[in-house]
């Protein structure tokens, strides 16, 4: 039985990683999950969070802002809307991402006054973003 699988992390602007990984922790929209080799084929959407990849050379961490992941028995492909290695996420970068989420939330609240659905979604996105920041030790400055 194979104990590694092909892991690809791509964003629209570039390919960030392509390695043989033994386990991948994915911040799924409905909760975190860890994929290992021979996982059942799954497609899940992502929430803003930390993606952790364990491979023979160590562990890599990436900050993703959303997108989706496609898991098959032999591979995991994460298609992130915006993804950065954790080390590149400085306070300024985080402020910008958080600012974008705040703006989006404000705009949604403005447009959908009486529809809780989209407003809740945007609020969750914002909360996830704040939680991710706290998790990696950055200040969400209210």
């Amino acid at each position: 039985m194979a104990d590694t699988m092909q892991f690809d992390l791509v964003s629209p602007e570039r390919r960030l990683a392509s390695v043989q990984a033994s386990e991948v922790q994915i911040p799924g929209a409905d909760g975190d999950m860890t994929a290992m080799a021979d996982h059942a084929p799954t497609i899940t959407t992502l929430r803003p969070g930390l993606l952790r990849v364990v491979h023979s050379g160590g562990t890599d961490e990436y900050v993703v802002s959303g997108g989706f992941a496609e898991i098959t028995a032999g591979s995991v492909s994460v298609l992130a809307e915006e993804a950065l290695p954790r080390g590149e996420v400085t306070q300024e970068v985080f402020d910008r991402m958080l600012g974008a989420a705040r703006d989006a939330h404000a705009q949604v609240v403005e447009t959908f006054k009486n529809e809780p659905g989209p407003v809740d979604d945007a609020a969750k996105l914002l909360a996830d973003m704040v939680a991710m920041g706290t998790h990696i030790g950055l200040d969400p400055r209210q």
Binding site: D8, V10, S11, P12, E13, R14, R15, G28, A29, D30, M33, A40, P41, T42, I43, T44, T45, G67, F68, E70, T72, S77, L79, E81, E82
Partner: protein, 290 residues
Amino acid sequence: MPSLKDLKNRISSVKSTRKITKAMQMVAAAKLRRAQDAAEQARPYTERFNAVMAGLASAAAGSATAPKLLSGTGSDQVYLLVVMTAERGLCGGFNANIAKLAKQHATQLIAAGKTVKILTVGKKGRDSLRRDFGNLFVAHIDLSAVKRMGYADAQGVARDVLTRFDAGEFDVATMFYSQFQSVISQIPTAQQIIPAKFEGDDNAEAMLYDYEPSEEAILADLLPRGVATAIFAALLENGASEQGARMSAMDNATRNAGDMIDKLTIEYNRSRQAVITNELIEIISGAEAL
């Protein structure tokens, strides 16, 4: 017959024109490489995305609850044409070709009794469509400040288009851009983005996926991103095409300037020789008269 001084001025002016076109060609060549790299980098994402979407879409297409972005609004009365061109000219037929294709479509649609709305991205397309279809413009998106096309720019365009779709402003959206084939060939292309069409190979083994959250939720979440992804891919293709077109246009211009300089130089030398001969004749006939 222009005087010697006139010819000299002509030559030096064509020479400086050649310097400019040569420089523009080299800049375009450098930018082309970067634009091609960017397009190359974006390809894996687009391919994976479309493959996943093709699977999802074919499953959902039949159901009555399919999202409007996939199944359409049920009518096809109002068309939105998203015309993407460059912000700057001097790139051969690049802008004109895209505008021409868009014009053809618009004329056909109007002849078929449809309502046409036009959204322009890039200044040049707006300028060349304004005379015939100026009254159909609904918006213009200015990307002239953008140095490096990023996904965020595509998202901006997509957001604008989607807001209009949600507001029921149109039924079908088609975008016009130029596909990069090579430096000498760029193909103006029309691509329908709403309702979305995904081309996956049908032969691929139908993988049975678990979906988290539900299949419908994922589809509803991904379709707007699909529009942004398609627009981003088109913008990148367009960027590479623009630089390619500019490069070959400027190459031609440089060569033409060279030819012109040669011709003018010959003419200049001839008339200088004529002047010298004239003077000699005068001197000789003067000496003979004595």
